[in-house]
């Protein structure tokens, strides 16, 4: 059919895959450095270096150092890595599915659903019967249930005869989010002063509550979703040319849609459940990576996970030392840093590449 010339150039103009792969490598290294940073820096004077020296010499750590490193910083670091990776990957996935660089999990009702769940737990938690008093599990579980429930409902609404209409999902998502926000508003009306403060703090997000118990519950599912995202890459690449073209190229479009939505609902739902509302990571990270190495999802998804993790860990380190021994909610930081950065990208890009 086609004659393949043996002397064709190895790297073609327009092929950004090599760049994307070196970026992956660079991000991996940065992530390692960031992680060490995340373990070493904190409000207390516990030194990672001394602790490692002690361990190497066979000495036992003091109880306090052990608590700080093992029960505070390490679970917090891992939670930050997972949540950052999950949020950025979810953003990239949804942007691919909706073919829009501005899509975020809010579009499929995750954020509003999680807020409603969390607010319900905060307001009604105290009056629940004993059996449902779950301690610190209550709010995360309610948030996850809210996020997951909203997305499944939305998926049901938008799916007819085995086909999910992305446009219906978008519109119904706006309606459903508005409804959930109205109910959250109703709850804030019912809430007393302390509960109101809890709700607003929850919405600001924080990794301060990270612990092994939450991490061990959320981590397997988030990792599963991140793995699943990898196999969705080719399908999402196809979708960039529209659903029909994707189908013509052999993409099982409905399967890709379903998996993407479930994956995002689970990963974001869990992230939001264990860390509250953290904005902008899901939009800024994939957008930046698309500018650097192109929109090919085979690289975009993995790079988003890496950069999302890096960004969140750095933001968390800043949040815990900037006003130590007190702490700034991380959602404030990501929005304060992410907002202007995003505007800068948009202004710089205007007229160069029309998104």
């Amino acid at each position: 059919m086609a004659v393949i010339s043996p002397d064709a150039p190895l790297i073609s103009a327009g092929d950004r895959a090599p760049r994307a792969r070196s970026l992956t490598l660079g991000l991996c290294l940065t992530l390692l450095i960031t992680s060490v940073f995340g373990l070493a820096v904190g409000a207390s004077d516990t030194s990672l270096w001394h602790a490692l020296l002690d361990l190497a010499a066979g000495r036992e750590l003091s109880l306090r150092d052990e608590i700080v490193l093992w029960h505070i910083r390490l679970p917090r670091l891992l939670t930050g890595l997972l949540v950052g990776a999950a949020l950025a990957t979810s953003g990239a996935l949804l942007q691919g599915l909706f073919r829009n660089p501005l899509a975020d999990p809010g579009i499929i009702g995750v954020s509003a659903g999680a807020s409603l769940g969390a607010a319900s737990a905060i307001v009604f938690g105290a009056s629940l019967p004993m059996a449902l008093q779950l301690g610190f599990w209550l709010v995360p579980m309610a948030a996850f249930t809210g996020a997951w429930g909203a997305t499944l409902l939305l998926y049901r609404i938008a799916t007819r005869d085995g086909r999910t209409s992305v446009a219906t999902m978008l519109l119904a998502g706006i309606a459903l989010s508005a409804l959930a926000m109205a109910f959250t508003g109703l709850l804030t009306f019912l809430a007393d002063d302390a509960q109101l403060r809890d709700i607003s703090f929850w919405n600001l997000g924080s990794l301060s509550g990270a612990n092994w118990a939450k991490l061990s519950l959320a981590a397997p599912l988030i990792l599963l979703c991140l793995g699943l995202a990898r196999i969705l890459a080719n399908g999402l690449n196809g979708l960039a040319l529209g659903e029909a073209a994707a189908r013509h190229m052999g993409v099982p479009v409905q399967t890709v849609k379903r998996l993407t939505i479930l994956c995002v609902a689970a990963a974001t739902g869990l992230s939001v459940a264990i860390s509250g509302g953290i904005s902008f990571v899901g939009i800024v990270v994939p957008h930046l990576l698309r500018l650097i190495a192109g929109p090919d999802h085979r690289y975009l998804l993995i790079n988003s996970a890496l950069l999302g993790a890096i960004v969140l860990v750095i933001a968390d380190v800043i949040s815990r030392v900037i006003i130590a021994p007190s702490e700034l909610p991380i959602g404030i930081l990501t929005a304060i840093l992410g907002g202007p950065f995003f505007l800068w990208i948009l202004l710089r890009q205007r007229g160069i590449v029309d998104l």
Binding site: G42, A43, S44, D45, L63, R64, I67, V68, H71, I72, R73, M130, Q133, G135, F136, F189, L190, A191, D192, D193, A194, R197, D198, F201, S206, S208, G209, A210, N211, K214, R320, I323, A324, P325, S326, E327, P329
Partner: protein, 297 residues
């Protein structure tokens, strides 16, 4: 009083449970006492404004190493490192000041933070909250016990009791209706209902809370404001820019139609003094009662 508090959850008590709870309480009390003797805490974090005041009143302020955001009295307390908002304490932030005891108001948290700290063996004593004289007495006693200064505690209890009872007697009983406004949000008023510090201080000053339809602080509608028909509006003094002022309240359409609005009867008092339910509560009752006597009627 250490976490987890076994008695705070409503449950039908069987005899056995009662016995066990008593035993547990005894052990806990002994534990505190023993630790007090063997290993007196000298690096204390106070998470709660009323606790900080009590520590100062007991003369034990040298043992404080950090405080929370709500601890703003006395002014020297502001020089201590701030570990954040009392319901959002960060575990490493608390540990970073090397405390050997945390005194926490009931409601301080989040639970995750206290769970980690308990794992580190750091004692946390929860001080009960309440909005009447017995609650103040109980608070002082609990703080004094935790600091192992029971005699000073008893003296302080006696002094505060005398002040409060004297102030209450002087205030007498009258039927002024007071609306406590915590804040305004988008033109709506967040008012104090039953079982709040504001309700407590109003009652102790011999007046009536104009709101009795709900518990806690809630946003209320304009019609509820009119129905409440307050004679006096009470609010916290704030020097922060953007905080609501008496003029804001008086220009509120619903409030302006009430007796308080017509008489321009708006009282402002220091928030911690008025709502702290701590050592200065007697002073708070006196100030409020005096202000009420001149305002409104």
């Amino acid at each position: 009083m250490t976490r987890p508090a076994p008695m705070t959850r409503p449950a039908p008590l069987t005899l056995l449970q009662l016995a066990m709870t008593l035993a547990l309480g005894l052990v806990t009390a002994l534990g505190i006492a023993q630790r007090g003797i063997a290993d007196e805490p000298v690096r204390i974090v106070s998470a709660g404004g009323s606790i900080t005041e009590i520590v100062y009143a007991l003369g034990q302020q040298d043992r404080l190493v950090a405080r929370d955001t709500t601890s703003n009295h006395p002014a020297q307390a502001l020089e201590l490192p701030n570990v954040g908002y009392v319901r959002r304490l960060s575990p490493e932030g608390l540990l970073s000041v090397n405390p050997d005891l945390i005194l926490a108001e009931e409601g301080a948290g989040p639970p995750e933070t206290f769970e980690v700290l308990e794992g580190s063996g750091l004692p946390i004593i929860t001080i009960p909250m309440g909005f009447d004289l017995p609650a103040v007495q109980e608070k002082i006693t609990a703080v004094a016990a935790a600091l192992d200064v029971p005699a000073a505690g008893a003296a302080l209890v006696a002094q505060v009791t005398e002040e409060v009872e004297g102030a209450q007697k002087a205030a007498g009983l009258h039927n002024q209706r007071i609306l406590f406004v915590l804040s305004m949000q988008g033109g709506r008023i967040m008012a104090a209902g039953r079982n709040t510090a504001a309700d407590g201080i109003i009652t102790m000053a011999g007046a009536q809370n104009a709101i009795d339809g709900f518990e806690g602080y809630k946003l209320i509608t304009d019609e509820a404001v009119i129905t409440a028909a307050p004679d006096v509006i009470l609010m916290m003094q704030s020097h922060r820019p953007g905080a609501i002022t008496a003029d804001d309240l008086l220009s509120h359409p619903a409030l302006s139609t009430t007796p308080a609005g017509r008489d321009q009867a708006v009282l402002q008092m220091d928030g911690m003094l008025m709502l702290g339910f701590s050592v200065r509560t007697g002073q708070a009752v006196t100030e409020l009662a005096n202000a009420l006597a001149t305002a409104g009627h």
